[in-house]
Symmetry: C2
Subunit: 225 residues, 2 copies
DNA sequence: CCTACCGATCGGTAGG
DNA sequence: CCTACCGATCGGTAGG
């Protein structure tokens, strides 16, 4: 059964949340496109998502996304770049909080207690970045990495280095104090992998909260003494 | 500079490894297709790989893969199914080896030593399945899961359950003996995630061997007492 | 940002 | 398994 179209309505009434009369929406149509693209890329994959799908999701016509982004690839890159920037910002904020309990921790001589505080905040912030509501940007970055040009890849690789920078000293300190047993380099890869994979199975409807996940990860990775 | 085509040669001399005169290749063209598809799906992604690419990789023409598989999706499914079957077989073999040192271990009352033996073999076999030379099938299964129909997904979900079945009792035993601290259910997800993510960073050219990875994983996840 | 459109590519098929 | 082909869809553009 189909719904008869009302002849007085325009052909495409769905999807676009019209602004109130006379208001211009200016540059934030671009943000809407980014969010819709991130969501669809995450759900369906980059290659399997058409630019028409993205346009439709924000109530545009098929050619219009190209007014905001010069190519589908540029849109993907913008999603990833924004994802990394917000991930880095969230992480920095989390580390500020960790530091506030111990006003002057030095990165070069982290005490065992500092390091345990910091790894917890790093892990918790990472889960938030991956699994928090509406946070589709970084998962896209993690799983659609292949679809970028070498040039774009290298820009993002640098952002990833920035993101991962705080993990090194923390893991080193934990290793030195006997709380971490594996070689630091491999430990970092395995730990981040365990966290990143949560994108595949985490269900916000179900049992575990992000705090539960953080506790479990700490219990799994860290030794007690 | 281009090479002038030799006029006496057929148009498409590349790619197909011709059998010696008169030999029929029968059913193993299908296997060649599977292997080529697995490799391309892994490298390029399912959606971004065309059936023409796959055909060309084994020296066929564009329509010919559909003589062996009724659709591109069926080809993907076959890759994944074969991947899971060989993963399950490899794992079973590894556990046999683990058992041979202790002839009659009971699954219900695993000693702490049994469990440590078994987790090591489970992890090692898992790395082999993911990272071993030519083992593209399971990585495709892990990363292209989205592209399947619900029906196919449920078949593979059952195979995954079979695969993961041995992990449960082993992790329970390790938890009971104090070698594993996190809740068993989350521990399983995090551990398998850490291993699965290795597909993203492992480089067979570089440093670590699969044994190194296994040692690091054991050191990271298990407590000493 | 819409309209109208293009060339390219894609999965798949009929017939041999 | 090849030949020859089709309809659909796709990323992208010119012009307003």
């Amino acid at each position: 059964m189909t719904v008869a179209p009302s002849p007085t309505l325009p052909k495409r009434p769905r999807g676009r949340p019209r602004k109130t009369e006379g208001e211009r929406d200016d540059g934030n149509r671009r943000q809407e496109l980014l969010a819709a693209a991130a969501h669809l890329f995450r759900e369906t994959g980059f290659s399997a998502t058409s630019t028409r799908d993205i346009a439709a999701a924000v109530g545009m016509h098929s050619g219009s996304p190209f007014y905001h982004f010069k190519s589908k690839e540029a849109l993907l890159f913008a999603v990833m770049e924004e994802g990394m920037h917000s991930a880095i910002a969230r992480q920095a904020l989390a580390l500020q909080v960790a530091d506030s309990s111990d006003p002057a921790p030095s990165l070069e001589v982290l005490t065992a207690l500092d390091a345990q505080q910091r790894i917890r905040h790093l892990i918790r912030a990472h889960f938030e970045t991956l699994l928090g509501p509406g946070n589709d940007f970084v998962p896209v970055m993690l799983y659609e990495h292949r679809s970028l040009s070498p040039r774009q890849r290298s820009v993002l690789a640098k952002l990833q280095l920035d993101y991962e920078a705080p993990w090194g000293p923390v893991l080193e300190a934990l290793h030195a104090s006997g709380h971490l047993n594996a070689p630091v380099k491999l430990a970092r890869l395995l730990i981040l992998g365990a966290l990143n994979w949560s994108v595949q199975w985490f269900d916000p409807q179900k049992a575990a909260s992000l705090d539960d996940l953080t506790d479990a990860a700490i219990a799994l990775f860290l030794k007690e003494s």
